[in-house]
């Protein structure tokens, strides 16, 4: 669930407490042997804050951590406003529609359908 803080300092304060409670930073364990793998990527943060505005910082906090570190926790909120990267307009995008393929190959659909009808007859 997304949570909201009014300043980065408030988020940092809560995040420091969360990391302490979770023992972060910590190394991981090899899933096959169960042995600590000091050389593999460590977990060095719990979550990351996204700046929506100077007084609006939001981060994902999982339910178990919400219960573990309630003091200073941000209030529930919506995810940050979704800013979609530029995507190709649908009119510019090819689909698997048969018409697209027929057009790309330079055929006329009505002629193809007439041929099919003739074959079936």
């Amino acid at each position: 669930m997304w949570r909201q803080w009014t300043s980065l300092a408030d988020f940092d304060s809560w995040h420091d407490a969360a990391c302490a409670a979770l023992g972060i930073p910590h190394p991981g364990f090899n899933a096959a042997t169960g042995e600590v793998d000091e050389d593999a990527q460590w977990t060095t943060a719990y979550t990351e804050a996204v700046e929506v505005s100077p007084d609006d910082w939001r981060a994902v906090v999982e339910d178990d951590v919400t219960e573990l570190v309630p003091e200073g926790l941000g209030v529930p909120c919506d995810p940050p406003p979704y800013v979609e990267p530029e995507l190709n307009a649908d009119s510019d995008t090819a689909h698997s529609d048969l018409d697209d393929v027929i057009e790309a190959l330079g055929f006329d659909r009505s002629e193809l359908e007439a041929e099919l009808d003739a074959d079936e007859a």
């Binding site: 364990f29 090899n30 096959a32």
Partner: protein, 282 residues
């Protein structure tokens, strides 16, 4: 030589029916994959906590890149879900694993021929109305350089259960490849999804070939701009399209990327067979 039995579909004169076919043993390493991530191989996974969160997934392919995530809330889960008795990694819509060297993945958009094969499931229902990217280097934006691959079912995009390939060249609105191949990929169930790319092919249709499970091969790309030979904007991200865009909800069993002379339809089909035999998908 000891032959193995693989599940396939054969034409019995009236319909495609499942059958067990003898096949020669296939070792994916024979194809020298650049990327080979295998969730069933616990030796490649570093994790911690309960449920276990993945901080590192080692590439068994030739590119010496590990995929890492240092932030706990963005780590996928391991050891919680299986497919055909094998471990998979679960992504919750905010989980990503990142490589670190952009140049390693330039071949994904610079005109090199290659294929991607993945055993994957996305979504939690039959109509997600979402874009779930499973890997990429461009964050989908056309102003960036790179390539990304996704399940696309957004109402806004007017596509249904599509396999989306978006190759960009750092020039807004121009694409060497950009195609939604609709009605190929069923959400909330396992699929072997493959994309064979030849991004410099003179015929646009030949630039992108999508085949899911035992389905037809669709060649429907109509974009024909030249590729970029610059490094990608981002290093390869698994679980989203890079820059955390389009994070997937779902699970990944195994991913292959094979480039160059080994990137053939025949070898693509071998990997499909290998993944299906291993993960029992279709």
């Amino acid at each position: 030589m000891t032959y193995q039995l693989a599940t396939a579909k054969i034409w019995d004169g009236a319909a495609w029916v499942p059958a067990k076919m003898p096949v020669a043993p296939f070792n994916p390493q024979d194809l020298s994959p650049d990327l080979w991530l295998d969730a069933s191989d616990a030796t490649t996974i570093t994790a911690s906590g309960t449920p276990a969160k993945v901080s590192q997934w080692v590439n068994k392919g030739s590119v010496s890149a590990n995929f890492t995530q240092a932030t706990g809330a963005n780590q996928p889960t391991t050891g919680a879900t299986t497919k055909n008795g094998l471990n998979v990694l679960d992504f919750d819509g905010g989980d990503y694993l990142n490589s670190s060297v952009t140049n390693d993945w330039k071949f994904l958009h610079d005109g090199t021929k290659y294929f991607v094969c993945i055993a994957i499931t996305v979504g939690t229902g039959s109509n997600p109305n979402a874009i779930y990217a499973f890997m990429g280097t461009n964050g989908v934006g056309s102003a960036n350089v790179g390539c990304s691959f996704a399940y696309e079912d957004r109402t806004a995009a007017v596509t249904n259960n599509a396999t989306r390939t978006t190759m960009t060249r750092g020039s807004s609105g121009t694409f060497p490849v950009d195609v939604n191949v609709g009605d190929t990929w069923i959400p909330n169930q396992w699929n072997v999804v493959t994309i064979l790319l030849d991004p410099s092919a003179s015929i646009a249709l030949d630039r992108n070939a999508v085949k899911v499970n035992a389905g037809f091969e669709y060649r429907t790309n109509t974009q024909s701009f030249a590729v970029s030979t610059a490094n990608p904007t981002y290093a390869l991200q698994v679980g989203a399209a890079a820059n955390n865009f389009g994070p997937m909800v779902g699970s990944i069993g195994e991913i292959f990327v094979v480039q160059g002379a080994n990137a053939t339809q025949e070898n693509r089909d071998k990997v499909i067979g290998y993944l299906n035999a291993k993960w029992s998908v279709f």
